[in-house]
């Protein structure tokens, strides 16, 4: 116990993190089926529409609201068109990536995924992608299994830029860089990311809004994935610990801890 205390609280991390054995591979026969069954079950339970037992008036009122919603959705369709174009870009990236199934998640309280059936081409620090953008990096790999550190994991750092989809006069939708601010995105744990390096005044003057995107703009990452989405703005508020700074919370497109499979960028162009 004394050793574990020293390892956890006293010894520098570089001493305890050396060559950790990827034991997760041994757990795959249990974790993989349970992960997929549980994720499938959760998906089914969430998607199942409840039986409609409302009155006609309630349904009529809902129809009225839906008509108003249609006009809003027309705008949304255009935005999704742009998203589809981005996914096509990811499709082009497929030639550089290998697809691997997710066999489980981190057994502790961190945001991580376990990939099974990986090839020898998978190495540490390779980018991991999913349909919604950047998922994280390979944290450790070996023995047919890899551990992915997700972008939402506490302490994960990446820099990016803000973009927004703007409808042009000719009817097309274009991605526009919102400001020249350089946000540093940090994982905050619990499926969220946070930007805390920008002064509140700059953020206010840049007119950032919820649903704006942050895309990757980091020279330490491969050029082929620059511009890929990191997350979308969920909220902007004054930071509690530093009143002059803004706290911008980001969310990925979907729950990263429930992905069925991911793409590991094993090749560089």
């Amino acid at each position: 116990m004394a050793l574990s205390f020293l390892s956890a609280f006293v010894a520098p991390a570089r001493l305890t993190e050396l060559q950790r054995v990827p034991l997760e591979g041994l757990l795959v026969p249990i974790s993989r089926p349970t992960y997929h069954i549980a994720t499938w079950l959760r998906g089914r339970l969430v998607r199942t529409p409840p039986e409609d037992s409302r009155s006609f008036d309630a349904i009529r009122q809902e129809n009225l609201e839906l008509r108003q919603e249609i006009s809003r959705l027309q705008m949304e369709v255009e935005r999704l068109g742009a998203l589809a174009a981005e996914r096509q870009n990811l499709g082009d990236l497929k030639s550089l990536c290998d697809r691997f199934p997710v066999a489980g998640t981190d057994s502790g309280d961190r945001d991580g995924l376990i990939l099974s059936g990986i090839s020898a081409a998978v190495k540490e620090q390779q980018p991991v992608l999913y349909g919604g953008g950047l998922a994280g990096t390979v944290d450790r790999a070996g023995e047919g299994v890899a551990h992915v550190r997700l972008v939402t994991d506490a302490g994960f750092v990446v820099s990016g830029q803000f973009v927004r989809f703007v409808k042009q006069p000719d009817g097309t939708v274009q991605v526009v860089r919102v400001s020249q601010l350089l946000p540093i995105v940090q994982g905050a744990g619990g499926g969220q990311m946070v930007i805390a390096n920008l002064p509140l005044q700059d953020v206010t003057s840049a007119q950032l809004q919820p649903d704006d995107w942050v895309v990757l703009s980091d020279n330490t990452w491969p050029a082929a994935i620059q511009g890929i989405r990191v997350g979308r703005i969920a909220s902007i508020k004054r930071a509690q610990r530093a009143a002059l700074f803004a706290e911008i919370k980001l969310e990925p497109e979907s729950g990263l801890m429930r992905l069925g499979d991911v793409w590991v960028m094993t090749r560089n162009p």
Partner: protein, 175 residues
């Protein structure tokens, strides 16, 4: 204790933890199946065996996690000390015991993890919220009732007490 059975329990528990925990997340908190196994071992095994078993389960969770090495083994060591020292005064088979012990153990583990995140944050200026850890303790305590209830039925496979204990030695037995 039969260590083969213990190894199977550890294997299945860790597999469930990696496979099920994220899918069972509610409000950002998931259950900790390994902690439930620690409680089960500590409630039933002899003192030294229980301490060693809990520590090994923690070490295995550390090895399959991304967190700092030694964090769970230290936490479960503390949990084992607490449970082993208090088990003479509690009714081990009762569901309320399972719930309350897992809750206290979960809070203890959450406190160790939160203090660690506070002392050594994973990133500069980033301190993950501590409340999911405490939610997780409550969630685990709720699930501990059926899980420990099921494990209780498997106690004979573990042979926590020697089969000879309490029997008269053969040389004194009446013929």
């Amino acid at each position: 204790m039969r260590w083969i059975t213990y190894a199977i329990l550890a294997y299945v528990t860790l597999g469930m933890q990696t496979g099920l925990s994220a899918a069972l997340h509610v409000a950002g908190a998931g259950p900790n199946f390994v902690l439930m196994s620690v409680i089960f071992i500590c409630l039933n095994a002899p003192r030294d065996t229980a301490l060693l078993g809990a520590f090994l389960l923690g070490a295995l969770q550390d090895l399959t996690s991304q967190g700092t090495m030694g964090l769970y083994s230290f936490s479960y060591g503390l949990v084992a000390l607490m449970v082993v020292s208090s088990r003479q005064t509690i009714y081990r088979e009762h569901a309320l015991t399972h719930f309350s012990l897992t809750l206290v153990a979960g809070v203890l583990t959450a406190m160790v993890l939160a203090i660690h995140d506070w002392i050594r944050p994973p990133g500069s200026g980033v301190r993950p919220a501590a409340w999911p850890l405490f939610y997780s303790a409550f969630y685990s305590a709720l699930l501990a009732v059926p899980v420990l209830g099921a494990l209780r039925r498997m106690k004979p496979f573990f042979r926590f007490r020697s089969q000879q204990r309490g029997r008269m030695p053969r040389m004194f037995a009446a013929r």
